[in-house]
Symmetry: C2
Subunit: 116 residues, 2 copies
Amino acid sequence: MYMANPSFMNGVPELLILRTLDTGEMYGYELVQAIRARTNQAIRLGEGVVYPALHALEREGMLKSRRKLVNGRTRVYYALTRKGEKHLAGLVRHWQHITDAIGLAIGGTAHAAAML
Amino acid sequence: MYMANPSFMNGVPELLILRTLDTGEMYGYELVQAIRARTNQAIRLGEGVVYPALHALEREGMLKSRRKLVNGRTRVYYALTRKGEKHLAGLVRHWQHITDAIGLAIGGTAHAAAML
DNA sequence: AGCAAATACCTCTTGCAACAAGGTATATAT
DNA sequence: ATATATACCTTGTTGCAAGAGGTATTTGCT
């Protein structure tokens, strides 16, 4: 029987979303641009990634939302729950662990890579 | 019309494989263990990931292979081509670029994450 | 001698994350 | 008027990575 495991590289959008919301309450559209800004435009998550992720994270109790009417437009603000903060801390640790490991593998004894 | 783009996070196994082969010719089974060793067991790519990747990379001209009979067992040794070396250099640059960006996003002004 | 584990190669099927595209609606700027 | 920006959303596609399993030889254990 085949039991799939998530790739060790998955969940980076989730990490970026939670980490960005950890700087303060934000709504989806704002989040999309904030992530671009925070990564110097290097990472550009689209709305098709962010909105479904927000809904899933709220369903899992990592986020809580409140609707707010601003200028006739409805905004849905998301904030971290205690659970979300703990989860974020774990994600950050995991990310650091694997990037350290990859950095180690990349940085080791080199041939062609030595002359970068 | 839907035209898929690879996720910005994909291709890490490819990077690890090429980078490890850049330390010298290696065969598949050896590579699997070498990657574990080089990452302090943090990343454990299985044969179901490595072998198909090796075949694809050879098809794309990134690797060249030669068969060798050792102790009655057949080993297929893979080595980087010039093209593979250039490709690797690009992958390393790209990896550094996005991990720098994520590090920036993670490291920025924090609330809960500040107390790690 | 017999059996398990290690060595060494391989393919098949599946799950899911991330993505592009497109849809609705209001406000603002030209 | 018309386009762009704001603000929300869902749907369908694709391909990566993973697990599982298959073949065969050799080595180590008892």
